[in-house]
Symmetry: C2
């Protein structure tokens, strides 16, 4: 036999069992998004490269998959150009289109392109694959799904509150215990203002984040190495040592940020969200975490991240508020806030904790074995009845050995097998075998439907 | 404002209303596939070009979207090569990967690649987009979904029978009246054998297909122009004039094909499928149609096609049996049979006949209007209760003008609006407005849930 065919590295096939688990994840997220009034949209896999380029930084541009123009793609590019231009410049000349890199930029493009048809605020969710020419490694793929929900056109913190409720609801449905971390870009800006080092904010959060690992002295050393003055390091001490309840932390931060209007506004925003959530029956803890600084250049208000409590894995959900997403497409002043569930990591967490419900792992309830043409014709009639009763049913198409047919039922975790041989046909009955218990019963089709449908 | 961003020609954005309709289509097809024991798989959007090239004919190769290799894609291709090679050869050098062109070739690749893990027969369905660099025109897109189901590893006609039942069930659920046309490649082969012109079979079916439009004399002229002898044209007369019930047609064909073993086998197969379906409670007619010759080079047994009765549109579903799909990947002798629903055309038919159920067009049931911070906090508590009761609910995030909030409810066809002002809060009640009737009631939240949840 020839060499087995394969798929591009970093991509995956999903067989029936993986699909069942993945659909359980997507369906759960989709249900909760819908329950909160988010509406689905889809955008094309390909966008114009002009839409994508420059939106993900220089590194991001390199990671875009580019689609070669059809036909004579060389048009207007001489052999000299070919030799002299950089690969990137040449790629830009040969390619007009690229593959979707995330769902955020296409969403911004969608909002601007369709702004005349959209009723604001616009709440959308989008569950689609994205593609990145990243070096593939464990847990990092070149094709993966994102599950985003965003609201644009509303400044209200009510949106942040509802997004946190969505996170809480989704992970409760999964049975995954999580800690939701919250921060606010304005608090970080305030800290930088107060210590007089606005350009150091990333270094500061990186250093503070290491407290648990390296201890206070080394954190302070690192801050000095980053070029912070002794005064600044001293001013940061209450922030680094920040502990206690969210209320206690906010009290400290209000003191530290007393001279920063922006910083205090950040504290107000976080407090308002936390207060509203106190009475919202949240089943997971929400915690103010100042080291949370994801996508700093991007977010302008609240920032969130979700960590699983019972599995060692990175952030499994994240999001935040951005104030100028559509500005890149010429439509400034539209505030937005969103979250994104990391489906691949959630898949791994559910697997490790063995949390998939049985129903997510089995599809077909009933298999009719095939003993020959006459028996199969009878089974087809029965199957019409079981399907009409909503029971997912198969009739084994070939009258092969029983052993093979039973192996098929076992491989697919089919709950019941029906045997219709000559004697059953004569009696107008079937033998129903419960595959879990091995129990067999001689039943009419109506009795079988009642048993299998339970 | 800058120029509006756009998307590549031939691609589409889908907004919430279109998504609701599309999901109704996909969910219906998916439910029926599952009911018949088909299991979902997904394959990557990108395949190795070696997997795709040469599988769709020369024209198909040109219509493949190719993905430029990352980084220095020129590697090993000199400026001389650049100038001298054909665009196609150069594209093959610059690109290792291409976009999925259909679901059939990736499925064949999947079966061969995973053959050691698969239990035969393997029944899979796959609903994913495909991409073709076709010239875009009305109803033809460069990105569109296919909805395929196939069984491989079983020769049994029971599969054909069940696929026809699936077709019948899906269109019954949609409320679209259809005619299912069936033919068999072996009958066509037999005709060619009998008239001694095996290479003319496509010309013959094309000519016969024109009978209604141009009449018998011109059909015969065309057959002569195609190079058929007078004898052959004479032998074809009963085939061209074929009329009556399926049984009557089969009777004629058995006479015509009396000397062709293959042709008679084709008649047997069609008869067996039709006989089984007679007692299967089919709600749509199934008709033997000898002019049906789709994908002749591809199919080897039964061929089917579905036409809508009440809308002028091409085939909306098709399929057939192929005997050597996986042979192209070095795994010969695996027979398969499949169908593919044309989601875009079904969308148009449902639209034209106004057959979308109301439920497919509205999502959110209840909107809480926002009169200010205190009222909104109260609404958030109520919304927790309505959502816990499974009612898709929104709280309008900003306390803007009522007119705007009502316009939002109307735009999204939200069934009920809840008004919680100062007086309602004081009373512990809410005013529930039925947006269809305009009726307003002062209710407790439990009463509102009972009303909205109906």
């Amino acid at each position: 036999m020839a060499q087995k065919p394969s798929i591009p590295k970093g991509t995956r096939d999903f067989g029936p069992l993986e699909m069942a688990k993945r659909n359980y994840i997507f369906d759960t997220i989709r249900s909760v998004y819908s329950l909160y009034g988010f509406r689905p949209i889809e955008t094309p896999a390909m966008e114009n490269l002009s839409t994508l380029m420059g939106k993900y930084g220089e590194e991001g541009d390199k990671l875009l998959f580019k689609i070669l123009n059809s036909g004579e793609f060389r048009h207007g590019i001489s052999a000299d150009d070919y030799q002299e231009k950089s690969a990137a410049a040449l790629a830009a000349a040969f390619c007009e289109k690229g593959m979707r890199y995330d769902l955020t930029v296409p969403f911004a493009r969608f909002v601007v392109q369709h702004r005349d048809e959209l009723q604001m605020p616009f709440k959308r969710y989008q569950i689609q694959p994205v593609w990145r020419a990243d070096r593939p490694q464990k847990g990092r793929y070149r094709e993966f799904y994102q599950c985003d929900a965003d609201i644009v056109g509303s400044d209200s913190l009510l949106n942040e509150i509802e997004l946190m409720q969505i996170v809480d609801e989704v992970f409760s449905r999964f049975g995954i215990r999580v800690c939701i971390k919250i921060n606010n870009r304005k608090i970080l800006t305030g800290i930088a203002e107060v210590i007089g080092a606005p350009e150091k904010i990333v270094d500061i959060t990186v250093a503070i984040d290491k407290l648990d690992k390296i201890g206070l002295d080394k954190v302070n050393d690192e801050l000095r190495a980053d070029g912070l003055s002794e005064e600044a390091v001293a001013a940061l001490q209450p922030v680094i040592a920040l502990q206690g309840t969210n209320a206690e932390k906010l009290q400290v931060m209000r003191r530290v940020l007393a001279t920063s209007e922006t910083g205090l506004k950040g504290c107000d925003e976080v407090e308002q969200v936390l207060t509203a959530l106190e009475t919202a029956g949240m089943r997971n803890a929400i915690e103010l975490d100042l080291t949370l600084a994801r996508g700093l250049n991007y977010y302008t208000g609240c920032i969130f991240e979700v960590k699983a409590l019972d599995v060692q894995i990175g952030s499994i959900t994240g999001g935040g508020r951005y104030d100028n997403l559509t500005g890149i497409f010429g439509m400034p002043g539209l505030s937005g806030v969103g979250i994104s569930f990391g489906a691949d990591r959630i898949y791994d967490v559910l697997d490790q904790l063995n949390l998939y419900p049985e129903a997510a792992q089995s599809g077909v309830r009933l298999l009719f074995c095939n003993f020959g043409a006459a028996e199969a014709a009878c089974c087809l009639r029965y199957a019409r009845q079981t399907r009409a009763a909503g029971i997912a049913t198969e009739v084994f198409p070939d009258s092969t050995k029983m052993k093979k047919q039973m192996a098929y039922a076992n491989a697919h975790r089919i709950a019941f097998v029906a045997l219709v041989g000559e004697s059953e046909m004569a009696e107008g009955r079937l033998t129903l075998k419960n595959m879990a218990t091995g129990e067999q019963q001689l039943l009419t089709i109506d009795e079988a439907i009642a048993t299998v449908g339970q």
